[in-house]
């Protein structure tokens, strides 16, 4: 070997990164230190084979010389190679940040997008990690260093030969407001906030709530010139039980006044995420009547579900879909929906019913027969129903934004708040 022997002591943090697609091809590799052979991924493939499905691949794998920490995102595995002790969450969180950045840059985090933009990906990875330690992970900074691809720019670049790479150090990197880029200018100054609440619930057979809580986020889309200083206050901030903040938020202000005060990053970002305490009663907007039965010693069963509105605060419930993972013995399903359409995948045994809106006059239902594999014992348990829905203009917890004030800039921004309630992990046991 002509390669110099590797120094005996190894460095912490992330050594290499491999991107692997679902069929097991390593389509990108990046090393921040000495090159680690692709063969290290064999241990990962081994673990992947052992796991029943992709979801069950252990995120941390120990191999004789390395440790592999991986995440699974958008049908891709991000496998990082570690050599020494490191907090695993540190790596996991970072890998997700990488995936987020790709998403942000290319609109999707897919193999095709990454392959198409391999140079930008490489430049990004180079900036995000130095010697395996995160250097710049804020989207606003990265975008100043490396401009995201747009069709227009790539045309211009190919004609003028100019580059995607910024030549100045983003000022954010140096300041304590690393999330905001300098010199932002808009002709229309706008600030939009989306209050999105998700109901996580487990409903038991009889329809009573086993567990329910509300998880919310406030996503912001801020297009304001200069250095605006915003403060957002709520009518009822006490509702928020546990909050995590974007680094821009002044913690002290929140502690003392329950006001969100911040200099926002430019563009889209998640301002806070919060949980409404499970002590509060959570309104469950839909109910499901279900009767699923499999006959003993017969190759068929009955399936009947009906969905109706419950506590919907007078709003329309829309975008309802029901997903059911049917037992393995189910061969096919013969159903009639009164509304919407359904599909059943005989391979994955997933039944998906796209319901649409609920009209209280005529409740949507899905009825019919289930064909079972003959001879097989009837399934022990009825499958649980996963329900998705959406209610516009409503935050189910009752959270309300009171006002948004802007300081530091002279213009009058256009402000808007939107509320949406969705089903999160909403499961009905049958």
């Amino acid at each position: 070997m002509s390669r110099p022997s590797r120094a005996s002591n190894t460095t912490k943090m992330i050594h290499s990164l491999f991107l692997i697609n679902c069929s097991g091809d390593i389509f990108l590799e990046k090393h921040w230190k000495s090159v680690v052979s692709q063969s290290v991924c064999d241990y990962f493939f081994e673990a992947q084979e052992k796991a029943a499905d992709v979801e069950n691949v252990p995120p941390v794998i120990s191999t004789p010389h390395h440790y592999l920490i991986s995440i699974y995102r958008d049908k891709l595995f991000f496998v990082s190679v570690i050599q020494t002790e490191v907090p695993p969450l540190f790596v996991i969180e970072f890998l997700h940040r990488v995936a987020d950045t790709f998403q942000d840059y290319f609109g999707e985090c897919s193999e095709a997008a990454i392959k198409d933009n391999v140079v930008i990906v490489y430049e990004l990875l180079e900036e995000m990690l130095d010697n395996g330690f995160p250097l710049a992970t804020e989207s606003n900074i990265l975008k100043e260093l490396i401009k995201p691809p747009t069709i227009l720019r790539s045309v211009v670049n190919s004609i003028t030969g100019s580059s995607n790479v910024g030549d100045t150090l983003p000022t954010g990197q140096l300041s304590n407001i690393p999330w905001r880029r300098a010199g932002v200018k808009y002709t229309n100054n706008e600030a939009y906030f989306d209050v999105v609440e998700e109901i996580d619930a487990i409903i038991d057979k009889s329809g009573s709530t086993v567990f329910a809580e509300i998880q919310g986020v406030i996503d912001a889309c801020i297009k304001l010139s200069g250095m605006p200083d915003l403060s957002l206050s709520f009518m009822n901030p006490r509702l928020l039980d546990d909050v995590s903040f974007h680094p821009c938020i002044r913690f002290k202000r929140w502690e003392s006044e329950r006001v969100l005060s911040f200099i926002p990053p430019d563009g889209n970002f998640r301002l806070i995420s919060y949980r409404v305490s499970s002590q509060n009663l959570v309104a469950i907007p839909v109910y499901v009547k279900h009767s699923i039965s499999f006959k003993e010693n017969s190759s068929c069963g009955r399936f009947d579900i009906t969905i109706g509105p419950k506590q919907n605060m007078g709003k329309t419930i829309e975008g309802i879909t029901v997903t059911v993972h049917m037992p393995k013995v189910v061969l096919n399903m013969n159903l009639t929906p009164t509304q919407g359409s359904y599909t059943f995948d005989p391979v994955t045994k997933v039944l998906a019913w796209d319901v649409g809106k609920i009209t209280p006059q005529k409740l949507p239902s899905l009825k019919g027969l289930v064909n079972l594999q003959s001879g097989a014992p009837k399934p022990e348990e009825n499958p649980s129903l996963n329900i998705q829905f959406k209610i516009q203009q409503l935050a189910i917890s009752g959270l309300k934004v009171n006002r948004l004030d802007m300081y530091g800039e002279k213009y009058k921004p256009f402000k808007g708040v939107k509320y949406v309630t969705k089903a999160g992990k909403f499961q009905v046991r049958t």
Partner: protein, 1091 residues
């Protein structure tokens, strides 16, 4: 790999394409092509041509393709000479891609790589900090041992660079150099030591990382930087926070004594935590001789806000810090945040659940309130399900077991059989740990035996076996039932378990056991090895207890076993035969055969697989894997006696400038007092007046010395921007602005967890305190902003005397700056001037961000000695009481007005148990009472402090003052002037604020008095006598301004006295609180007009 074949090329410099062509053919990589040899060759050839071309666009294209090759893991090393020539390209994108290439291949092509070094050395001197930084990055990433000295030099220089960004990169380079050449350790430690002193938040995370890598055992380097790191922590970027917190956790475990007490029973502490402060105080007074080191407290306090971070790694780091170093009663705060992380993606869930599992074994109570958050969903991945199940098991107790069992019933039926099996084990564990439900569980498990799924049945059998073993009571029925199962069940483990169970209990089922043996003898040859062994055991046991019926059967089985293919079975057969079958050769042992086979076996312990993980630090890789990972640093045990805490003291000068609030008080007072836990503070009620005046004095002096400089500094920094002196000052200014906001967190936490806890429980944190701290921190950061650049400029001027660095007056900074930057005239050198306007806007924005940001709470100008009678000695049966307003910020709550009550015993006997009884307060009003006074001797007097939140109204607070025998109704009505706290502000701010408070917020009156009453000193004296106002410096002789804010809501109260011609004056009050404003006006008016 291919560097050998390249060796001859080094003289030629790799220029000639022809030679390279040959080169390529000889070294073409095995991974590069299979049958496409020639096409690959051509491709590279054309890449080379493109790299040689004059056009940047062609070069760029080529580089992009090469990077594409690298990304795919193809070998592009033969292009090295062609690529390396472009290292000096003017086009920054080409340059960057060349860097990417260099870093990847330099190690393989060391000699050629040397060609690029001079470019980097030049770039290290570039005026653009971005270029300096990236040159250092690449230079240090080229793993070529020859350049170690160059790297060392570059690192040393960069560590003294003006730009914190370059210094950050220097910290990164330290680790790289260390892994390249560990010999440099000593020199590198010097650099680390220097960088640890750096005050930039940008550098802190990286240098601690380097410290952890190079010299994690040199804990002595941390001492003097400990407090600074604690205080900077919230401002460090998130990745740095993780590293620093982990390091500080280790540090704390070596430097402080354990805050855990023996009797730190969990339940009681949980309660303790949520209890109000007094109760806690009382409790701890009794129990706790231990006092926490203030530095220990500082760390715990300053990390708390980070629990709110969006970054799961930071939250986990804080959680493990609390777990490992905070008093057990305080660790409860982390559970909520950890549970929040469970909403995150599956990988985060996995790690967090693992850690919760470990924690929940030791301290159940922490997670009990969140029990339902661990309920399993059918869509969870199996690994998450099992972890949740593990936690549910750990949390199970008498109170919640019935709910849990109902939940488990659902899980048992899960389609995910692996999970169903895990649930059965869980039920077994619950059955053993909670005796009340043992029978229920056992019955449930027996029901499962008739389940259709074999895995479920098998697992149930195994668990039942364990349960029965623990409870050798009468369970004949169950055993019979299980014996029947042998006909149907095929899973080896389950069969083996049943056989073993029958063998153990063969005397309880005397009829069934021999029959089972008979059946098994028939199928012996087709059984699994595991089952065979158990058949042998069963045979032996029956032979010993019931040899009449089973002798022949056993011998038959032993014969079968003798010729089995498996040697274990053959061995076992031989062993058993010798023991049980009596023959002449059998030794002494056979006498004891029965004792050997039918001995009482200890019941297995069903315990958590996470039991043994707690010796690893939480949140680490080692903990996750339950193996000691390489490079894992053990957490040491608490020392018996704390090492000398004074090592963390920093010289006065430094402390004063760096982290004022804490450091300053440190030098003013013995450390203990300032830091001491809130509990203690309360305990020292008697001294409260003194201690609070102290803290006030401090805040006063602080605003005093920064008040003036804050304006200067803002002017300075803006002038700095105009004069283009550079990004430095600007960035500092920006940081100052930012810190304005961020420091709030700090000062908040410094203010004591008492407040934190309070805001938690009562949610009554106040506006004033925030604005007060905010402003003081603001001014502090402003002063810092003009101080900070100094050391660096000086450092660059090669003066290396740290003590001197801090003294040059601010003006010098800019002189130096100009010197430094003026000669550089390339536009690249000044990347930021274009940004200046926005920066100014930024700073303004921060000033405007809250109306209170300009308010500095200052010391009262004057404290009236006037006392008011609370209780006359006649009506108080000898107990007399007076109260007065010490005009100090209340220590009990930020919205409270501090009131001092002096109690005097004028009777001739002792008055015992003086305390405050029933309170009849108007709605919203709150009162913090003093601690009961045990006894007051005749003629003795005592002064106590209470805090009353008057809600900015002059309503009366009525309450009862009680002694052992009597209760007296008393009341306190505050003069309006005492509902204020003075603030210091500049005239400019005053005008601005006043401009915002016009119209209905303004009240005014005309005052007529003799001219001698209108001297400045007279006006001041009169005004402050009536109300607790702060004087505002005025540029005009005939206008006097005073400012204060209301205690409860923090609204500004601006008083202006404008002298008019003759003997009239205009008195104007601007405030949002118009009611108080008009009352104040009414009170001030007569005072001013009096002679």
């Amino acid at each position: 790999m291919s560097s050998n074949s390249f060796a001859y090329n080094e003289q030629s410099g790799g220029g000639e394409a022809a030679e390279l062509g040959q080169e390529a053919t000889s070294t073409i990589s095995p991974s590069g092509a299979f049958g496409l040899f020639s096409s690959d060759w051509k491709k590279n050839e054309d890449l080379k041509q493109m790299l040689e071309s004059n056009k940047d666009s062609a070069k760029l294209d080529a580089m992009k393709r090469i990077v594409g090759m690298i990304a795919k893991g193809k070998n592009a090393s033969e292009l090295f000479p062609a690529v390396v020539k472009n290292v000096a390209s003017k086009n920054i994108e080409i340059k960057k891609l060349v860097y990417v290439y260099l870093v990847r291949y330099a190690e393989e092509q060391q000699d050629l790589a040397l060609l690029s070094i001079s470019t980097f050395q030049r770039a290290l001197k570039d005026p653009n900090q971005l270029i300096r930084a990236s040159a250092l990055r690449v230079l240090s990433s080229i793993r070529v041992p020859i350049i170690v000295p160059i790297m060392m030099l570059a690192i040393k220089e960069a560590s003294a660079d003006l730009s914190p960004y370059v210094r950050k990169n220097a910290a990164h380079a330290i680790q790289k150099l260390y892994s390249l050449d560990p010999e440099q350790k000593e020199m590198l430690i010097e650099v680390i030591e220097k960088l640890l002193k750096d005050k930039s938040t940008l550098v802190a995370g990286s240098v601690v990382m380097a410290f952890e890598e190079v010299c994690p055992d040199r804990i002595d380097l941390i001492h003097r930087n400990y407090r600074k790191l604690c205080n900077l922590l919230v401002d460090v970027e998130e990745w740095g926070q993780v590293v620093i917190i982990h390091m500080l956790t280790r540090y704390a475990r070596t430097q402080f004594v354990s805050p855990w007490r023996e009797d730190d029973g969990l339940e009681d502490n949980e309660k303790n935590f949520y209890e109000s402060d007094d109760e806690e105080k009382e409790k701890s007074d009794k129990k706790r001789p231990y006092t926490m080191d203030p530095d220990h407290r500082l760390l715990i306090r300053n990390t708390k806000p980070l629990l709110q971070s969006r970054n799961a790694a930071v939250v986990m780091a804080v959680a493990q810090l609390y777990w490992h170093i905070s008093p057990k009663s305080e660790a409860g705060v982390i559970s909520k945040s950890l549970v929040r992380l469970l909403r995150s993606n599956r990988e985060v869930q996995y790690i967090v659940l693992q850690n919760i599992a470990t924690m929940s074994i030791q301290r159940k109570g922490m997670f009990e309130p969140y029990l339902k958050s661990f309920y399993v969903r059918s869509t969870d991945p199996t690994m998450i399900k099992t972890l949740k199940l593990e936690i549910l098991t750990n949390l199970a107790n008498e109170a919640n077991i019935s709910t849990l069992l109902r939940e488990f019933q659902t899980y048992v039926k899960s389609q995910d059989k692996q999970f169903a099996a895990a649930t059965i084990q869980t039920i077994g564990r619950c059955a053993t740990s909670i005796t009340e439900v043992t029978d229920t569980c056992l019955n449930g498990l027996v029901c499962l035996l008739s389940n259709r799924d074999e895995i479920v049945v098998a697992e149930s059998v195994v668990v039942i076996k364990k349960l029965l073993q623990m409870q050798p009571a009468q369970h004949g029925e169950i055993i019979k039932h299980m014996a029947k199962l042998l006909d149907s069940i095929t899973v080896p483990v389950a069969r083996a378990s049943i056989l073993w169970l029958i063998g153990e209990n063969c005397e309880r089922v005397p009829k069934i056991a021999p029959d089972v043996l008979r059946k098994m003898a028939k199928t012996f040859t087709s059984e699994d090895d595991l089952v065979k062994l158990q058949i042998l055991n069963l045979g032996a046991k029956l032979y010993l207890t019931n040899s009449k019926q089973t002798k022949l059967l056993t011998q038959y089985i032993l014969n079968l076993g003798k010729y089995d293919q498996n040697y274990d079975i053959r061995d076992r057969t031989r062993f058993i035969r010798q023991l049980i079958v009596p023959n002449e050769k059998s030794g002494a042992l056979s006498k004891y055969a029965k004792k050997i086979f039918l001995a009482q076996k200890p019941a297995p312990l069903l315990e958590s697989p996470f039991k043994d993980r707690d010796h690893f630090q939480l949140g680490t890789l080692s903990h996750t894997l339950n193996i000691k990972a390489s490079g894992y640093l053990e957490l040491s045990n608490w020392p018996e006696v704390a090492p000398d805490p004074s090592v963390r003291n920093v010289e006065v000068i430094e402390s004063a400038k760096e982290w004022t609030p804490v450091g300053k008080s440190k030098k003013e007072k013995p450390a203990k007092k300032f830091y001491s836990e809130s509990e203690e503070e309360e305990a020292e009620e008697e001294e409260s007046s003194d201690s609070s005046s102290d803290s006030e004095g401090e805040s006063g002096s602080e605003s005093g010395d920064t008040g003036s400089s804050s304006e200067d500094s803002s002017e300075d920094s803006s002038s700095g921007q105009e004069s283009e002196t550079g990004s430095e000052a600007e960035a500092e200014g920006k940081r100052a602005g930012k810190r304005n906001s961020r420091l709030k967190r700090k000062s908040d936490s410094e203010d004591g967890e008492k407040k934190n806890e309070k805001s938690k429980t009562s949610e009554s944190s106040s506006a004033e305190s925030s604005s007060m701290e905010e402003s003081s921190s603001g001014s502090e950061s402003a002063s810092e902003s003009d101080n900070e650049p100094v050391p660096r400029k000086v450092a660059q001027a090669k003066e290396r005397k740290p003590q001197q660095e801090r003294h040059p007056p601010p003006k010098d900074v800019f002189l130096l700056d100009l010197d430094d930057f003026n000669p550089v005239s390339t536009p690249v050198a000044l990347p930021t001037p274009a940004l200046s306007p926005s920066l100014i806007a930024d700073l303004e924005g921060l000033n405007l961000s809250t109306s209170s940001s300009v308010i500095n709470v200052s010391t009262p100008v004057f404290v009236p000695t006037k006392t008011h009678e609370l209780l006359h000695r006649m009506s108080g049966k000898g107990l007399a009481a007076w109260y007065c307003f010490p005009r100090q910020p209340c220590i009990f709550g930020d919205k409270m007005v501090s009131v001092q009550i002096t109690l005097k015993n004028t009777s001739d006997r002792k008055i015992e148990n003086i305390h405050i009884g029933e309170k009849k307060l108007p709605v919203g009003m709150q009162m913090h009472v003093f601690h009961p006074i045990d006894s007051l001797e005749p003629e003795g007097s005592v002064t106590v402090s209470v805090g009353i939140d008057f809600c900015d109204s002059t309503q009366t607070a009525c309450f009862q003052l009680c002694t052992k025998d009597d209760c007296f109704n008393v009341n306190i009505q505050p003069p309006v002037g005492e509902l204020l706290l003075p603030v210091a502000m500049s005239e400019k701010d005053f005008k601005k604020e006043r401009g915002m408070l016009t119209g209905m917020n303004e009240t005014s009156a005309t005052v007529i008095a003799a001219p001698q009453n209108f001297t400045p000193s007279m006006i001041l004296q009169k005004v402050v006598n009536v109300a607790n106002l702060g004087a505002v410096p005025s540029g005009q002789d005939n206008v006097h301004r005073f400012a204060a804010k209301t205690v409860h809501s923090g609204s500004l109260m601006l008083v202006t006295v404008e002298l008019k011609e003759g003997s009239t004056a205009q008195l104007i009050i601007n405030t949002e609180k118009t009611l108080i404003g008009s009352v104040l006006l009414r009170e001030l008016k007569p005072v001013l007009s009096q002679g």
